[in-house]
């Protein structure tokens, strides 16, 4: 019987870069990568506007 992993699997490079995030981005098409960036930018700008007075 296989023991369940004690910790979730992670994969970081020696300089601390999250390789799982890179592999996920590389699994997308360029058009999908652009959509990801656009959504992130929109979300960040929306949060900034909500907190504009702070």
């Amino acid at each position: 019987m296989t023991e369940p992993d004690a910790q979730p699997k992670t994969d970081y490079s020696e300089d601390g870069v999250d390789l799982t995030l890179i592999r996920w981005m590389l699994s997308l098409t360029p058009a999908e990568r652009l959509q990801v960036l656009q959504r992130q930018v929109n979300a960040i700008l929306a949060i900034r506007r909500l907190n504009a007075g702070q």
Binding site: I22, R23, P30, A31, L34, L37, Q38, V41
Partner: protein
């Protein structure tokens, strides 16, 4: 300041027949690097015909210099024909028109180091390849360049492994 709409800006340039290369953070993202950016950086061809097309597109996008936006300064043909940098704000967000990047590399120098990519809705653009982005950032070695280099290097390695 208007929000960034990368695809709308790329579409306007593409449909305007402008010859340009996407560089900077957006080029890194299109190449698969998980980084963030808020502006679109392009290196256009600086011949007379292309500068005229670029000026027309910038006019339709209401492009003005981000510095002192209240003065609504617009770039002219002589500006865009120069190797300098033009930090603009348009109705699709910030757009940096860069005559050259790195140590004086212009459109013709960079063209062999680009790949054409579909970015959505039939908009195909030339994008600086990741190996060249990494090389230029290593050469410049500014704080901003050094901060993002680990992610770009690891992305390049994963791509070369077939990721």
């Amino acid at each position: 300041m208007p929000d960034s709409d990368f695809l709308a800006a790329l579409r306007a340039l593409h449909e305007g027949g402008v010859e340009f290369i996407v560089v900077g953070g957006l080029a890194a993202v299109l190449n698969g690097a998980p980084v963030n950016t808020f502006d679109l950086d392009i290196v256009p061809a600086r011949d007379e015909a292309n500068v005229a097309k670029l000026l027309h597109v910038l006019h339709t996008l209401d492009g003005i210099y981000r510095m002192q936006p209240e003065r609504r300064l617009k770039p002219g043909a002589s500006h865009l024909s120069s190797p300098g940098h033009h930090n603009l704000i348009t109705n699709c967000g910030p757009l940096d028109v860069l005559g050259t990047i790195g140590h004086g590399l212009g459109y013709e120098d960079l063209l062999p180091h680009t790949i054409e990519m579909e970015t959505g809705g039939g908009v195909r653009v030339r994008v600086l390849n990741l190996a060249t982005i990494v090389r230029l950032k290593e050469e410049l070695a500014g704080e901003k360049d050094l901060a993002v280099l680990p992610v770009l290097r690891r992305t390049l390695e994963e791509k070369q492994r077939g990721g």
